[in-house]
Amino acid sequence: MEAIETTYLEADAASVTFSSIPATYEHLQLRCSIRVAGVGARNSTNLTFNGDTGSNYTLHRMHGYGTNISGAGWANQPAVYAPDATGFDSTSADYSGVVVDILDYANTNKNTSCLFSGYIAGIPDLMAVESALWDATAAVSSITLTGTLPITRGSQYTLYGIKSS
């Protein structure tokens, strides 16, 4: 596993983009520590690949928050509504921690599938496992994460490449 790029926000930002991702790895892993500005204990951020904002994304979620546990799905959407981020109403030091596994991202025989695993600190806090599907066989060359609200200073994203030889 090799670090491709780390982005640490020194100031609030509307989005974060990893571009020109090399196709030389087998898998990608994105590790996020994120918080967004705005009312609410948590808010989603939106993930897109290669700048595609067509209705080509599907998200499924299994999560527990407070005493509740449930599943849900959103098909054929313009973005993946994940990962969730800790919101303004939570303690200022709270950030969500999410790991995103993106397998065979450069294999043009496959749509891109992802596994999200995360803990979103807040009141109530939330634990989620999610799958995301991008209905496109293009190699992933860029990843954009856009906040529904500004992503706050101190948030950090690191993209890793995982080799297979």
Binding site: T58, G71, S113, V129, S131, A132, S165
Partner: protein, 177 residues
Amino acid sequence: MACWNVIEHQELSSGASSVSFTGISASYDHLVLLSSARSDEATITGYMNFQVNGDTGTNYSRRSLNATTSTVGTSSGVNQSVFIYQYVPALNSLADTFGVMETWFIDYSNTSNYTQILSQSVGPNNSSTDSQWGLRLSSGIWTSTAAINRVDVLCDSGSDDFVQYSTFTLYGINGAA
């Protein structure tokens, strides 16, 4: 010293009912298997199972948390002949869609303990209709203290095939020297 080390990568050039990793060195602390696979079973979501060291006895037990609808369920399997029914997209799911599966074999060469196995899998599909997608977390044990030297990945019970382009990569994870 690298932390993640590639032991072996396999990409299927044609359908296969199982994939095997043999001669696994005992020199790592843990094993991780990453898989991007699809089944040819005539359903929406199929299953992927494991056996280790060729053990076909009833020596695998697991507990799972899974969602295929808005209701999250739990299930278990005690003294089973395979480990973990993990989800994998199948023939009737969206074309060209493969699942994501990550499985850890913890302390796989420690002969004082049973081997603990932790696994996550997703069966994505472009549908939000109940039972047309799946998420599963599973954990469990192989009730043997033998070091793992072989992992077999089975498409369901071996009666179906993983399709072409399915990939399976086994990594050895190092601890501190």
